[in-house]
Symmetry: D2
Subunit: 340 residues, 4 copies
């Protein structure tokens, strides 16, 4: 019953097989290989538009490189107060951007509120004394498991673009968001006005693979050099490309995410009034109080506290490979705890 994080899971068999198959003979290094070309074409097909795809090994690198391409050091990144780039990346955005400031915005379920965005832009428009807002970054699905609808993304994109800002989407769990919406991926990305997308794969079944998808090259033209300079251009690039070939092939990415979402929904249904945030992805937030959480842990449940010590709230993350037995057992544990 380990629901700590989706990054504790292994790689999907299809992805591991692709790595094994790629392990033959010499291949050009540093992204000059054919597999990388094929992945770029697959991404163009997936989003049905022209784009650049830059592959890296970690989500922090994908986010930080995207932001570095979208803001000068004198700029500001506007994001939700609970955004991963603010709370969990040890200042990587500040490092990669050369010291741009993260300006924090509130909003329910860790989604940026449009009014809050407008206010943050206005507040920082005081000439050279304040940093200049340059990019808005939203997380899809959010750090509270919520999914922005296409029109919600578009509304933020409109505000951003009208003010001359770019829109970045941290799509660590983009697959779970698309699976939740049952929509075309472009509807949550390029068609909604996203300029650069961090397209996650690692949490959803890859070994170590994330893609920086640049929809608008005029805003983010320097990613290649930034990536190399940051040590994120892997030399044996075939292996990262192989992961994406398998991940995108035959909708594996969506199937894995859909399965995790469905299991999470079962937990959320069983949680009833303990549910502390809408369950729209593979994350479940419950707030049954500290005593109940202790019981759930005593029963074998593993998960992180949320919202600070003593809040009595927990985050459960269902992985692509989570056993159904884990879910059944946890639901039973919740029932038992509730019963007494």
């Amino acid at each position: 019953m380990n629901f700590r994080s989706d990054n504790t899971s292994p790689a999907a068999p299809e992805i591991l097989d692709a790595i094994v198959r790629a392990n033959a003979g010499k291949r050009p290094s540093y992204s000059d290989d054919d597999a990388t070309r094929r992945v770029e074409a697959m991404f163009r097909d997936l989003f049905a538009c022209d784009l650049d795809a830059h592959l890296v090994a970690t989500g922090t690198a994908a986010n930080a490189l995207a932001l570095a391409a979208l803001t000068p050091p004198t700029g500001a990144v506007l994001c939700h107060r609970e955004a991963h780039i603010e709370t969990d990346e040890c200042g990587a955005p500040e490092f990669f951007t050369g010291g741009a400031k993260l300006v924090l915005i509130d909003g329910a379920a860790a989604k940026i509120d449009p009014e809050g965005l407008r206010e943050a832009i206005a507040r920082n428009a005081r000439g050279v004394h304040s940093v200049a807002p340059a990019v808005v970054s939203i997380t899809q699905a959010s750090e509270r498991g919520a999914v922005y609808a296409p029109d919600e993304v578009a509304a933020l994109a409109d505000i951003a673009h009208a003010a001359g800002l770019a829109l970045h989407m941290d799509g660590t769990r983009f697959a779970n968001a698309v699976a939740h919406r049952h929509c075309h991926p472009a509807e949550l990305a390029n068609r909604a006005g996203v300029d650069v997308l961090s397209f996650g794969a690692t949490k959803n079944g890859a070994l170590a693979a994330e893609a920086i998808i640049v929809f608008d090259r005029t805003r983010a033209g320097n990613v290649e050099r930034l990536r190399k300079r940051a040590g994120h251009l892997v030399s044996k690039h075939r292996y990262i490309a192989a992961q994406f070939e398998a991940y995108l092939d035959n909708d594996l990415w969506l199937r894995l995410a859909s399965r995790a979402n469905a299991l999470a929904a079962r937990i959320a249904d069983a949680a009833g009034d303990w549910l502390s945030a809408p369950c729209q992805s593979n994350q479940v937030f419950i707030k049954p109080g500290a005593a109940i959480l202790a019981k759930l842990r005593a029963a074998g449940g593993e998960f992180y506290d949320w919202g600070g010590d003593g809040a009595g709230e927990a985050r459960l993350v269902v992985s692509w490979d989570q056993g159904e037995g884990d879910v059944d057992a946890f639901i039973a544990a919740m029932r038992a705890a509730r019963a007494g």
Copy 2:
């Protein structure tokens, strides 16, 4: 007959197998797994001393993080004019260190000359107007395929330490250097005064695995946070650890390097007076002139020019998996080219 680079080669079967075996069940992420603990213990055994080992996916990251831990932004990194960190990492050392300056030193076969090191230290000791030398970085084997002897390393370490500087070793091809010297690895590292070693594995049979070995924690105490901040703490850390477990197990690393060295030596022997640098690792430098290089390419040889266009010089790199047939064929091509 592809001798372009050792990073065009695949992963060794033992290493791929280890990755496959690691692909089962949930594991703590972000380096909290048991395999990572085991790798650290293996490194302590290997160098017969206490140390910290930080694993990353690229050599540029290993070098740049090591340097960032060893110099403040106001410092200088002293290295050879042909050092990889100067010529081939797109300014990664400057980026990671917050803008430390690389001060370039000359020396035969891309090895730093002790007198040149002394002079560079003295030249930059003019108070606040110049940057303050903080770390010396040497490459083992060098970018010209030469290997520093233990006493050569120690001599540079003594100069560095006497002036208050640390010694970093870019060990992208450390395995080839140890194989060449037939010595204990500690003799070329900690016992010779190296403070931090970038211990390479990718070029020598790993998929994507490099280790930052910190022998002197007092000089480089902040690597963990620097690594996370740079997006180089991979989440599914088990896979990078698995590569090192296989790589270090039963001297695989030395066996792979020894084989490549031996094949390179055969080419060097056959090259005769074309040899333009001593062959002490898996790299062979020949300077037969542009016409001969054209013939070798016509015969199917693949390699990079060296020393600028028209220099008539080439670098041949023998990979861990290079077929003996490649070597035989290339030697034959050299003979044919020489004959006419």
Copy 3:
């Protein structure tokens, strides 16, 4: 009736005279002159302790250099949400520190609340995923015109030091704070646990002169090189030293600040229930509503809105050279506006 800012005022005659007197013959440049030595000695006398004093031309430079000396790039600066370093320096702290994060804390009258400080330290102590709090920065007098009492400073210093953090004080209006407290300057600085003080002079009668006072060299040993590297070591250093000689001589700094405080107090007294923050320095905050502010402006009053558009609040800053007539006229304008 210009109460926009104290940096719209000229230099005090004593200070200008000192500059004129310094303008004779050749002097060693780059702080090697005798006047600079004398100023350092005067600062040691002033604070009755050993210290280093580094002179610069702007307050932003003084603050940012102090912070850069006190935190690594992976660290965090904890400050009040309204701190000048957060809101008005265009990201200078991020730039100088190499991208350290500013973590914002609340508190009445723009003073950091001890509980808020404890909470912020605890919240960011989650290992490598979060930045590491390294320094607390407080403003004396605060951006809301409030003065920390010696025991308030000491309480924050104790919390900071206990957690391994340094304490920086932005003393742009340190003179006004000391004048308000009628205490020895050391009581609000070194004796209260301040490690580095930005000792302002420009706003209080200098032409362009600020000092970085380092009480604890072990925490901030690299200021000299950081200053040069940032272009803040002025070449003809005699002139900045001359300003401080005059400023510190015969308590000029205190006399100028006391006068401004006294005039501000008269405005505050007259403001009555419009006063929106305690008046403890040369700043007065009133919140009479937008209509009254319009009347005050129509009567010739010049000042900045505070708290955002439409808040109906204003900040009045009294300069060292403010004419008493300005104050009388403004008080009369307030009475007239109130009367209707």
Copy 4:
């Protein structure tokens, strides 16, 4: 007989008078004052073109801000090996640019050789593995006292622009260069293809005043924010503007430089075959050997050794206010030393 540096000199009376005159009443701060507007207009007249002028207090700030505006962090600054930005600014260019690399070029008399420039550009055009040359920086007059002729500047500008690079001129001693050429200042700047000029005043009679002259806004549009962020927007801006008003008025800048040049020429003439570089500005380089230098010092001469310890070479800098008696005495000392 102090010939150490022109920054040991005081401010010219006209400039000090202007500061004194500016010291009356309140003025808008942060460059919003009328005097700043007037200085910008004067610069437009001086160079007979549209331009932006940003005033700062130090030459290092002027250079580093100009470079930061002209190169991304992934870029390279190409400059002479002896350039002040490389040797004497403690890595300020690296700091301000976010870690751009300085690529060093040789050339006689510290002037960049066009062929060396072409070679350096070509050498660094190897895709993402090398930094991307972004700006060429030349010093006028050079660190060896030589002056680029207009067509020499234009030749370098053509090479730079053809390769997509900008041209920066470090004009710390631009006045001396113009005085030497007896040409219109535009001929050595905008008309010759200079994109951004660091226009020095401090060494030539100002107290602390340098201007960043942006001729091509499309290449350097962000100076204002970079300046504020670096703490180089002085608050009481009237005083820096006043210095430039006096400096530019009635050709004071040219008169001061011409006088210094003429005195330097007298020393150079008397130096005869000791002269080790052409004297084209206010700097004289002599290489009479260590014994003669010792004699000159014994006679009261003050100057810096040049070219390293024991080179037997010296640099003499004549200031705007150098007494003719100093020059006469030094020439006599040279004669005496030569005589034996």
